[in-house]
Homo-oligomer: 344 residues x 2
């Protein structure tokens, strides 16, 4: 498509050649290139010396950003998180004179679709990439390493042990705060609708709920925990199940706002009013939380701020500056609205 | 930032030079360049001959797309429409091997901010632009003409008489359908919460409501029309006002989903249940309409399809093909859910 001057300037030296010369693994070289601090100083020095010797050009560290483009990549754009993150990233990069290319990998398209997208990415010489992911695709991740782009992951789901810097939120702490809020309003039977199984953020929110109960001296009752997958329909089903019991809970904490809205509808269909007959708390603070009736008390996950921080951190990597920590978590915050009532 | 080979290939000949040589206005030359059909054939021929003679290069018509980038431009990314449109545009352009740069003009930044963004746009040699607008900024519009980019406007608000092809939705017809639906359920006192004043889509929705009443032989009662601005808070205020009356309406049709959700909350605060005590219809069918409790009956505006059509039409313009019509409206559709009940 273009007479890619940037493309020709790309290094012929591969990371794996440097790794084998240094006697370290490819991921270790990646860690050095990505500015990670978890590499022994002696190893870092050896790898950096070889990178220089082999003439390996760390993009952005030598010359100013060549294309002015940064890729922001989602698995799918139907995540309710997407627009909040786009807004934060766009705002931060706009200030740096950089432009944001938004892509959805179209997971349903499989590897072929991902490869096609990677070819496009290679053609236009992006300066860096921000991946937003709940499930990190290892193929994608390896390919991006191969393209030798600075990469940051915005990871609301809390995938640990990535090879690249990640930005997350304090899921566990937020769940503790939500549970404590209900306990302070004298709720003793608190149902929990869990997030998608297998994601770390789901585990962290469940553990936070347990810790909140524990701190209040309340026993954990596994029968009050109902599985969900973050989506509305699963919250509705969980609400139907919890509210059908004779000893139904007086409050339900759902691990996402959409599931909390599903609980609202389950309550309405059983003739229960919120908050009079049931208190509800969500998690995320998407715009629809404040448009719910009654407005939903929830735990705010600062998605646009996470986008801004990811963008600023990426710019530092593009300039060849190291980052302090491989993972940064921004704090969550309880936002009290009108869906929780104090029991006597 | 880059050694812009594309930039050097840009025409030195200006549209205004061609216009004055042809004895026509600058907008007329733009219409020819934008493939509009509302130019007299003789005029079109004369202008095209001069464009050839002057060596004016219509970008994309002569060579394949040089940068592979298309700009998608919003006033602000906090519109609830944004992510739906991004998804449609991204999906259609991805299939063409094109990448989507998403920008917010940051209206609060004023002309300086817009100019800075235009400079960035010029630097990276975008192949075309899709503007999403409720208020067309005439400065921005003139500057984009000057850059000589193929431009399409996605215009949910219904701004008429743009110089570029626009994609909209059938606002009037959708409002007729919503009103007819309420009438068929035997509602006779139907309140209306209007959209932001001064926008054509607001007028079209109000006129559709009046036409629907008229077709049913119901008198239009101006006291049942309350102003709004599309946002939640204005819907809440309008709901409070309409429901405080002794002769309160049995149904309220709000010109946006967010205002309809505001009406929900106004009803709840007055102890009224939806749909038992009040029927409500919205407009847009954003995701939150189906997450409302009860799920909101609304008029679907096909935002992602509008995005896809805009993208496909832009690709045709980039190839130098004319488009059939300067404005295309996609149909809206009533989506019955659970917020309307039949009166006896």
């Amino acid at each position: 498509m273009q007479d890619n001057a940037q493309g020709n300037a790309r290094p012929a030296v591969t990371i794996s050649a440097v790794a084998s010369a240094a006697g370290v693994s490819v991921p270790t070289v990646s860690r050095v290139l990505n500015g990670r601090s978890d590499v022994a100083p002696a190893t870092r020095e050896r790898v950096e010396a070889l990178l220089r010797e082999y003439g390996y050009r760390r993009r952005g560290a030598v010359a100013p950003a060549p294309s002015g483009l940064v890729d922001l990549v989602f698995n799918d754009l139907d995540s309710p998180w997407a627009v909040e993150i786009i807004r934060g990233v766009e705002e931060a990069l706009n200030g740096e004179g950089l432009s944001v290319v938004v892509s959805a990998i179209h997971r349903r398209g499989g590897t072929d679709s991902t490869r096609k997208w990677l070819d496009t990415l290679g053609d236009r010489a992006s300066d860096g990439a921000i991946l937003v992911t709940t499930d990190l695709d290892s193929f994608l991740h390896a390919e991006l390493q191969r393209l030798n782009l600075p990469v940051i992951v915005i990871d609301p789901a809390g995938v640990p042990d990535l090879e690249v810097p990640t930005i997350g939120a304090t899921n566990w702490t937020g769940a503790v705060a939500a549970t404590e809020h209900l306990v302070e309003q004298n709720h003793r039977r608190i149902g929990f609708v869990a997030g998608r199984p297998g994601l770390w953020c789901s585990r962290a929110r469940l553990d936070g709920y347990r810790a909140g109960l524990d701190a209040a001296g309340l026993a954990f009752d596994p029968s009050l925990v109902v599985p969900g997958d973050f989506d509305y329909a699963s919250g509705f089903a969980a609400g139907v199940e919890l509210l059908a019991r004779e000893d139904r809970p007086s409050a339900i904490f759902a691990a996402s706002d959409q599931m909390a809205l599903g609980v609202y509808e389950a309550a309405r269909q059983q003739g229960l009013r919120i908050p009079d007959d049931l208190s509800v708390i969500g998690f995320d603070d998407l715009p629809e939380a404040s448009w719910a009736s009654p407005p939903l008390t929830t735990v705010r996950q600062p998605l646009s701020e996470m986008g801004m921080l990811a963008a600023r951190t990426l710019v530092r990597l593009m300039r060849g500056e190291p980052v302090e920590s491989p993972r940064i978590e921004l704090s969550t915050k309880l936002i009290p609205r009108a869906s929780v009532r104090a029991l006597a």
